[in-house]
């Protein structure tokens, strides 16, 4: 741990020195907030935060909903009920994100139009649909393992006191499973934040897109992409912190 820390300090120092020497390798001036140009550049880059956060939040909410709707029939004792859920998970899991994004953005409107639903899909919703679907296969598996980790006796007891299947899920199984599901779901949220960078290729003005656009005008990829990575780092660290807080809170409730 200390070795890792020393190494980071050393690396940081090297970067700083390299930046200060001004031998042409680094040009921090592009994002130097003390100059008007640098300040406006930084503003432009940071302006992508909101879009990235919006994308990630909506996509995660959708993915969690779709995931649950896929996971529940996937645990049925009837194999014909189980089958569509299995097929969905295997199929979606096999498609790389980028091709799926292209297909949704360019292809889905055409399919919908031919089915009689003329819709337009902008970059924002194209990215959200893709991220949500692609992630839902993983969320579904997380729900399944979480729900199946609750002893069968809980379902049996709930059914014998007259609860229906959905009441059993809602009042007995899910409240218990959520504590086990939360940490892996949080990982998926972080995954979505990172994968939302792909939305840049269909023109969504989020963090990565803005960095790309600035690189094209400023020709300083090293500095701009360094800042971009730091932006994601800050975002992910904030989420991790929040999740740990949430887990502790639920854990405290558990041991009450």
């Amino acid at each position: 741990m200390t070795r890792f820390f020393k190494l980071s300090v050393l690396l940081g120092a090297c970067l700083f020195l390299a930046a200060c020497t001004g031998d042409g390798t680094w040009g921090w001036y592009v994002i130097d907030p003390t100059t008007p140009q640098g300040q406006s550049n930084v503003r432009f880059l940071i302006g992508g935060f909101w879009a990235t956060i919006q994308l990630s939040l909506i996509a995660t909410a959708l993915s969690m909903t779709i995931g649950l709707l896929v996971a529940l029939p996937g645990m049925s004792s009837n194999r014909w009920v189980r089958l569509p859920s299995r097929v969905y998970i295997e199929f979606v899991r096999a498609i790389p994100l980028l091709p799926m994004l292209f297909w949704v953005f360019y292809g889905l409107p055409v399919v919908m139009r031919s089915l009689g639903f003329p819709i337009t899909i902008d970059a924002f919703w194209g990215a959200i649909i893709t991220l949500a679907i692609s992630d839902s296969a993983f969320t579904a598996e997380i729900y399944r393992s979480g729900i199946q980790s609750i002893p069968k006796g809980q379902t049996e007891a709930a059914r014998t006191v007259g609860l229906t299947y959905s009441q059993t899920m809602r009042y007995v199984i899910l409240p218990q499973a959520i504590r086990r599901i939360l940490p892996p779901l949080a990982n998926q949220f972080i995954y979505i934040v990172k994968m939302s960078a792909f939305a840049s290729v269909i023109g969504m003005q989020e963090l990565t897109r803005r960095a790309n656009e600035l690189v094209v005008t400023e020709y300083r990829p090293l500095e701009i992409y360094t800042l971009l990575i730091l932006e994601y780092l800050v975002l992910v660290l904030i989420i991790s912190f929040f999740v740990r807080w949430l887990e502790r809170k639920m854990g405290a409730d558990e041991s009450r």
Partner: protein, 246 residues
């Protein structure tokens, strides 16, 4: 059909894969009757009572509870509304307080108001003699207390029939009697009971009929007086010797 018969089981068969758990089981239970089912482990006694409220599916045969066939559409739900069950492992809901464990069924399945349900719950917690534990979580209770909560939880649904699946097997010895006492009281109040247990003292005290099962079959039935004095079959005799000798 006898009007008094609340449970009719006829030629019930069930297997798990190649293993035949129940073979041609016939059993009729009258209203208010207390039946104790015993037998070596793996004899199918738990499976039998789990079939009565549809927790296990059976391969062939017929089960009718209070005139309703289990195999009819919606039959399982209607039967479960009449049948309470107590499990070996209590199966209390760990994320809910004791009182919420009791009110969940009446409120969600019966549409009772919280106030009504809580009054009912307190009445039954009183009956199992732990009203002071109402606000605690199940894990803060001893095993005996947890099992009494489980009994109260079942009673809140006002069942006609109670099934007990080895209710004292997971308990420390000093807690067995507090659970059995509650069950004896329940029997005195006229509840129809099917109890899988090895507690022969309890059987002697409350059972109207003993059912001995072995290898998925009902081998012998009779009143406790009959079977304890003179078991008819060799299998029952040797079983009784084993469990009464410790």
């Amino acid at each position: 059909m006898n009007a008094d018969r609340v449970i009719e089981i006829s030629s019930l068969n069930k297997s798990f894969g190649d293993f035949q758990v129940l073979t041609n089981v016939d059993l009729n239970v009258s209203l208010g009757e207390r039946i104790v089912i015993c037998g070596p482990s793996g004899s199918g006694k738990s499976t039998l009572i789990r079939c009565v409220n549809g927790l296990e599916q059976y391969d062939s045969g017929k089960i009718t509870v209070d005139g309703m066939s289990l195999s009819a559409p919606g039959g399982v739900e209607r039967v479960r509304a009449e049948v309470g069950m107590v499990f070996q492992q209590f199966n209390l809901f760990p994320h809910l307080s004791v009182i919420d464990n009791l009110t969940l069924g009446p409120m969600k399945a019966r549409g009772m108001s919280r106030k009504e349900a809580e009054a009912l719950a307190m009445e039954y917690l009183d009956r199992v003699r732990i009203p002071e534990q109402a606000q605690k979580r199940p894990r803060d209770l001893s095993g005996g207390q947890q099992q009494r909560v489980a009994i109260a939880r079942s009673l809140c649904m006002k069942p006609k029939i109670m099934l007990f699946d080895e209710p004292t097997s997971a308990l420390d010895p000093e807690m067995i009697s507090e659970v059995l006492d509650v069950m004896v009281e329940l029997a005195r109040d006229g509840m129809t009971m099917l109890v899988v247990t090895h507690e022969m003292g309890f059987a002697r005290k409350v059972a109207d009929r003993m059912v001995f099962m072995d290898s998925g079959e009902i081998v012998e039935t009779g009143t406790p007086a009959e079977v304890f004095e003179a078991p008819k079959t060799e299998r029952f005799k040797s079983f009784l010797e084993k469990i009464l000798h410790h």
